[in-house]
């Protein structure tokens, strides 16, 4: 009989302990690797979604679909009217800003009243483009620097130069102030002279008061229709002065329908001095309201409000805000990611240079559809930016 030497208890215990340690280490390694892989997958998913959000925001910055979807049947809220005047995507025809001079009238005639998009028509070499308004005149009787209304007046029987006043009024009537300060050259003034007759040719929805010097008061007086309250200067202004403490902004989808979207938003200095939104002067509330009312976006991971992606995926949204601040058009894009697991949020805000309002109007046909600037078909080349015929 042979005997086989068995493990001693000590040997067995050591062997089991060592085996356990080896197994624990192996499983720990696998678990760490597995966790790393899971985290990398999650981060990759987040990164991919953020990239999609970024591309969507950049597309929105260039094509403005969240503000005006050119496809037939899609929302076009900014082609409506407020207080008699149009919103930023209103057709010049609908606002009555059309050229009725006829084809025999020279292109640079003062009486061509409709919008002219040609660069040549806005060249400083053309005397029609000269403002000739009284830069020193206040909205109150301050015409002692001269009566400029005899040089330039929206009423052709009062003065030889009528083109520039007609352009200012027509642009304001069609698009409001955001459009006015993009369509005018950067050195353009938002004012013109008009006669004190009833009804005076003031912008639609504005006060009909005309100063004694003949200027439209709604375009000059502090705290009125066009102008911010700060500054103490009740004179004609350009776009930097008017947007120093305030912003002209593009209304978003959350904009209150009852409010005249052509007016200016008041944030910052204006909120302190003039109440801003409602009666609050709290900066946070003012900014929150501003961002809410200027938000432009489309659904990214939802369809009619219902989440269409896996519920454990992070949700990415984007929004684009457009406003004119101190004379400069700003396109502010924000991409946001929210984790359903942790509630953590990531926000990527950035500004970009892209399609401007006038560029966006040139992308669109008058009724619906996308325009093609190089098409041989006139109907495909027609845009919201020009009016050949009423």
């Amino acid at each position: 009989m042979t005997t086989t030497r068995a493990f001693t208890l000590i040997e067995l215990m050591i062997a089991v302990t060592l085996g356990g340690m080896v197994l624990y280490t192996a499983f720990a390694a696998i678990r760490v690797a597995s966790n790393a892989l899971t985290i990398s997958q999650r981060m990759a998913t987040e990164n991919s979604l953020l990239r999609i959000g970024l591309e969507a925001a950049v597309d929105e910055a260039d094509f403005w679909i969240g503000s005006d979807d050119p496809e037939p049947g899609r929302p076009k809220p900014l082609r409506a009217f407020d207080a008699g005047g149009g919103r930023p995507f209103t057709d010049f025809r609908d606002a009555g800003f059309c050229d009725t001079a006829g084809s025999t009238t020279p292109w640079n005639n003062e009486n061509r009243m409709g919008w002219s998009s040609s660069p040549l028509a806005w060249s400083p070499s053309d005397p029609r483009t000269w403002c000739r308004a009284n830069v020193a005149e206040e909205h109150s009787p301050r015409s002692f620097w001269g009566n400029f209304s005899i040089y330039s007046n929206i009423e052709s029987s009062r003065a030889w130069h009528t083109w520039y006043p007609s352009q200012v009024r027509g642009i304001v009537d069609t698009m409001g102030f955001y459009g006015l300060f993009e369509y005018l050259p950067s050195n353009g003034f938002a004012v013109y002279h008009a006669p004190r007759v009833n009804p005076p040719k003031t912008p639609k929805g504005a006060s009909t008061t005309i100063s004694y010097g003949g200027m439209v008061q709604a375009l000059t007086a502090n705290g009125t229709w066009l102008c911010p309250t700060d500054g103490g200067d009740n004179t004609m202004k350009g776009r930097i002065r008017n947007t120093n403490g305030s912003r002209y902004y593009l209304p978003g989808k959350n904009f209150a329908a009852a409010v005249d979207s052509r007016r200016l938003a008041k944030i910052g200095y204006e909120a302190r001095s003039a109440g801003g939104y409602g009666t609050t002067s709290d900066t946070h509330q003012v900014l929150t309201a501003f961002l809410n009312e200027t938000r432009s976006n489309q659904e990214l991971m939802r369809s009619n409000g219902i989440l269409v992606s896996p519920t454990h995926w992070p949700e990415v949204t984007y929004r684009v805000h457009r406003f004119i601040e101190r004379g400069h058009p700003v396109t502010l894009c924000v991409v946001e990611l929210t984790s359903p697991l942790t509630g953590a949020q990531i926000a990527l805000p950035f500004t970009t240079v892209g399609t401007t309002l006038r560029g966006a109007r040139q992308q669109r046909k008058p009724t619906s559809g996308w325009a093609d600037p190089f098409s041989s078909e006139p109907t495909d080349r027609a845009t919201l930016d020009y009016v050949d015929t009423p």
Partner: protein, 357 residues
């Protein structure tokens, strides 16, 4: 023992294989992320290049466009073999806008040039205007209807480079001008590498001779490492004079549209890409964006900081020294200062690749 050893080997191999598989998956995912991120980088680069193109349009409105070194038969050849000649003083004479602000003629034009009228609009759209008035680049004016290529890179030293050093002491430290300000090292100074300028009151031109000056004027256009082959833009000027189709590219094609253009540009251009297959591979991996923009002669606002009347009888027209706005107020000089190159009136992203770009 052999059976036990085999089991251990199988276990170790399986665990190792599992770890390797997971590591590979991790690395692959990271690599994929990086590649996807590169596309975002190209998109961002192309959009930045749009700004560069707009700035070129603004600057060229006043200083014209580079004539020397351009192949008049092939404008898309661009500045490939451009050899700046600082001795030609007429290369950048002052001009007055893409549409001349003095008389509405085609620009950029210097005073000694004959005028060419922009054909008057027949409709209200810039693109409705008549046929191009000139279609070749063999002119002192920027061609119309013909693509022009701009390859971008960072040169070692730009022509007429100004030093960023701000530590010069402009106050004379020796007799006879001891303590008098602004009599030595006038600001700005040329970059020191190309200039030995050591001007003093008694000898303002010390250290500078014609050769040194020429070197400073010419700069060093050798591309800095890692900056070439990244981005480019192309312009096509429309007949209306101030509207351009801008193509912004991020990638290595140097702005050549196709292999035919590369061949037309000559052997030097072909050497950049080896052959047509390689060029096409590079071109297909690029990001290209198409825009239309319009230049305007308007430079800045005429606003209260220029024409002030806060007190009734203190109306005054601001002087050039006031151009920057009040330094103690929230109007920054950058916003208020005229840029002398005009402004971009509007920008339109094109949905499709145009036929001519």
């Amino acid at each position: 023992m052999k059976t036990r050893g085999g089991t251990v080997l199988i276990l170790v191999s399986a665990i190792s294989a599992l770890l390797v598989a997971m590591s590979l998956a991790f690395l692959t995912r990271v690599r994929s992320d990086v590649e996807e991120g590169a596309l975002q980088l190209q998109l961002a680069q192309a959009r930045v290049t749009l700004v560069a193109a707009c700035q070129y349009i603004q600057e060229a409105s006043r200083i014209g466009w580079d004539i020397n070194g351009w192949d008049t038969a092939f404008p898309s050849r661009g500045t490939l073999d451009r050899t700046p000649n600082p001795g030609i003083s007429s290369e950048h004479p002052e001009a007055f806008g893409w549409i001349d602000v003095r008389d509405g003629t085609m620009g950029p034009r210097i005073t000694t040039m004959p005028t060419t009228a922009i054909l008057t609009p027949t409709g209200s759209r810039p693109q409705d205007e008549p046929e191009p008035v000139q279609t070749s680049s063999g002119s002192w004016r920027f061609p119309i209807g013909v693509p022009v290529r701009f390859d971008l890179y960072v040169p070692q030293i730009t022509p007429y480079a100004i030093s960023q050093r701000a530590g010069y002491n402009p106050v004379s430290t020796a007799a006879p001008d001891l303590g008098r300000a602004y009599l030595r090292f006038p600001d700005p100074q040329p970059v020191s590498r190309l200039n030995n300028w050591a001007g003093t009151t008694t000898d303002p031109a010390a250290g500078v001779n014609a050769t040194e000056f020429a070197r400073w004027a010419q700069g060093d256009l050798t591309p800095r490492q890692g900056t070439s082959g990244r981005t480019w833009f192309r312009l096509v000027r429309e007949p209306s004079g101030a509207v351009f189709t801008v193509t912004c590219g991020a990638g290595g094609s140097r702005g050549f549209k196709n292999w035919d253009e590369v061949r037309a540009a000559g052997a030097e251009a072909q050497a950049l890409f080896n052959n047509e297959t390689d060029f096409n591979a590079i071109a297909m991996s690029e990001t290209r964006l198409w825009y239309r923009v319009e230049w305007s002669a308007a430079t800045t606002v005429i606003d209260m900081n220029y024409l002030r009347e806060h007190e009734e009888f203190s109306f005054r027209v601001s002087t050039p020294t006031f151009i920057g706005g009040d330094p103690d107020r929230n109007y920054s000089g950058q916003q208020m200062a005229p840029n002398m190159g005009g402004t971009i009136q509007w920008i339109q992203r094109l949905r499709h690749e145009p036929a001519v770009w």
